[in-house]
Amino acid sequence: MGTFFELFLGNWYCWFKSFYSDYLSQYLWGYNPVSGAYDLELRYNTIGLYTLGISLLMVILYYYVIDHPRFCKWWSWLIVALVNSAIALFVGYYCVQSDYDAGKIPDELLYSRDENGEIIQYLISIPGECWSFGISNMFMAFLFFIILSFLLHWWSRVAKYSPFIKF
């Protein structure tokens, strides 16, 4: 059970894995090429929790702080969801870019080198893939937003039936 919770954020992130390379995905899973095991930080969890946290804040903001009669239609919900996704885009980009800048991404995942140590192939393209991961984070944030909206909209005073009455 513990493994289920440990891995479920990463598993969800893998639905949107096609935006970036497999090597970046392995890094985010915490793969350590030196030891051959997954003993580095599970970045999917950290970044996932940031994104989940921000989505939660946005949901609470929309349903309980703003909660305004003129901002409670389906398009208001959508605006907030899109803002949330936009924030997630930058969070995703920033997390990967700063990891790279801090040297946290192992060399073996970044480059493929020959016998003399010369780079023959760039396995992860920076900063392009930072943005790609950001895009996948956008989708995750949207997903979180939908789920959290479903879970938390019941007690909203005005926006309860946003975006849909059958929600």
């Binding site: 909660d67 305004h68 009669p69 003129r70 409670c72 005073r157 005005v158």
Partner: protein, 480 residues
């Protein structure tokens, strides 16, 4: 416990209407049921027609609301019953009859005819009475004597219970009221013991208000001038003398209220009928408060015995300020407490219906498991009766606001940027809520709606929801 309100003449009708308006807004009256009985030969009197129509709408709504412990609502709380059909005590033989035919002048002997000539002018004798007695109490006092024989009076007596009270509203300067009031009182205190509940009626708690002149009448356009307002004062004096002996003098009433005002306005001339639609006046509202006051009195103050009141009370009305434009703060605290809150609540309610309901229908409070959908808003409760009540109420306010002396406690025009500033002389308080104006209203509606009991019908839920919302808004914004 009921209070029978005998409304005599046009003033009676208008005061009853004012009372009904106040009961609509939820003014507390301490009785469960008001039974209006109109005595007016002027069958087509516009004021009466308007009042009766309003009463019917009121009663329809009252019946749809079930005032259980689930309801905090005060609007339409008091029952107004239609004891006799049409609320009117029928006066027979006044239609298509001239006065002299009514009193069978032709069959009188010479001596009596001579007496009649002394008492009644030729004009009087030739009057037709379909529109009342046109300011001639001498005719009225003859004709109105018949009502003790009417079926309606019998029904009234039949329904009377111990503890029920009676109140009589009349004007002192009109034709019907001036004559009808003492006659009615005489027939009540001296009721024929053959009537059912005669003993209870004889010693019932009876109150009355006599409304002294408060308007003038313009000259008629055709010069006929059957009613001359310059005679109002003199007639009042004559009546007062009579009352002194025969009402206050012999302790007929347990409580006697007087109300008068300086004369400011001149109404358009009308003898009666559908054209006698006088604009609502603050005096009528204050007269209605006399009824409220009477109903609130303890039983031990209103004791009677052998047809006489043991401790008669006499009251007059006074306001704190003598302004030509009266607002709530013009009154003393007791009056303000009675009317400011209910009227503010109901006015806000009406304004909401007019100004914002259509945009608000898409909000959350109309949806959910028990929605307020098109069926409700198109149903007769809302689109017919409630709408009629709202229109009449606002019209009533407008009339009082355009009359003289003016009573205009509200800004009735739409003020979307200052929705809660509609009570004159009252600055709305601040609430800790960033939403304002009708957005705040919607917010409160959505907040309160889930707390309304599901045991109520949709109509009752609607009124209850709106009541609780305006009640809370008025409270939080300190409007009353």
């Amino acid at each position: 416990m009921k209070t029978y309100v005998f409304c005599i003449g046009g003033t009676g009708a208008r005061v009853m209407k004012a009372l009904a308006m106040l009961l609509t807004t939820g003014v507390k009256i301490e009785v469960d049921e008001i039974v209006p009985i109109f005595i007016d030969p002027d069958a087509a009197a516009a004021d009466l027609t308007r009042t009766i129509s309003f009463l019917r709408d009121y009663q329809y709504i009252n019946e749809q609301l079930h005032f259980t412990s689930d309801m905090k609502n005060n609007f339409f709380k008091t029952q107004i019953s239609e004891l006799i059909p049409g609320y009117r005590l029928e006066l027979s033989n006044t239609q298509n009859n001239k006065f002299q035919q009514y009193m069978d002048f032709a069959s009188l002997d010479i001596a009596n005819q001579a007496l009649a000539y002394m008492l009644f002018s030729a004009k009087n004798l030739g009057s037709d009475m379909d529109v009342g007695f046109k300011g001639n109490p001498n005719i009225g006092s003859v004709v109105l004597n018949q009502f003790a024989q009417s079926e309606a009076f019998f029904d009234f007596a039949n329904s009377f219970r111990p503890g029920d009270r009676i109140f009589i509203v009349s004007s002192i300067f009109g034709g019907t009221g001036a004559s009808g009031f003492p006659l009615l009182l005489k027939n009540l205190r001296g009721i024929d013991m053959n009537f059912p509940n005669a003993g209870n009626i004889k010693d019932a708690a009876i109150g009355a208000i006599t409304v002294l002149p408060y308007f003038n009448l313009a000259q008629s356009t055709d010069g006929k001038n059957d009613i001359d307002s310059s005679t109002f004062i003199s007639k009042a004096k004559a009546a007062l003398e009579y009352y002194d002996k025969n009402i206050s003098g012999n302790n007929s009433l347990n409580a006697f209220y007087y109300i008068a005002d300086d004369i400011y306005d001149t109404y358009a001339y009308s003898v009666g009928g559908p054209t006698q639609a006088n604009k609502a006046h603050i005096i009528e509202l204050l007269a209605a408060l006399a009824i409220v006051d009477f109903c609130k009195m303890d039983n031990d103050i209103l004791q009677s015995s052998k047809g006489k009141a043991l401790r008669p009370i006499y009251k007059e009305f006074g306001a704190e300020a003598d302004d030509e434009e009266m607002i709530f703060s013009s009154f003393y605290g007791i009056t303000r407490k009675e009317i400011q809150r209910p009227m503010t609540e109901f006015t806000l309610f009406c304004k909401f219906l007019n100004e914002h309901l259509s945009s608000s229908q898409s909000q959350k409070w109309t949806k959910g498991k028990r929605p307020f959908d098109d069926n409700f808003f198109n149903g007769i409760f809302f689109s017919s009766h409630l709408r009629a009540v709202k229109e009449n109420y606002l019209q009533w306010l407008k009339e009082m606001a355009s009359n003289r002396r003016r009573f205009s406690p509200f800004h009735l025009e739409e003020m979307k940027k200052d929705v809660f500033g509609f009570v004159k002389g009252v600055k709305p308080g601040k609430v800790i809520n960033y939403r304002s104006n009708y957005d705040l209203f919607d917010y409160y509606l959505c907040d309160i709606e889930p707390k309304i009991s599901n045991n109520l019908s949709t109509e009752a839920r609607f009124i209850e929801l709106l009541y609780q919302t305006v009640n809370k808004l008025v409270e939080d914004k300190k409007l009353a």
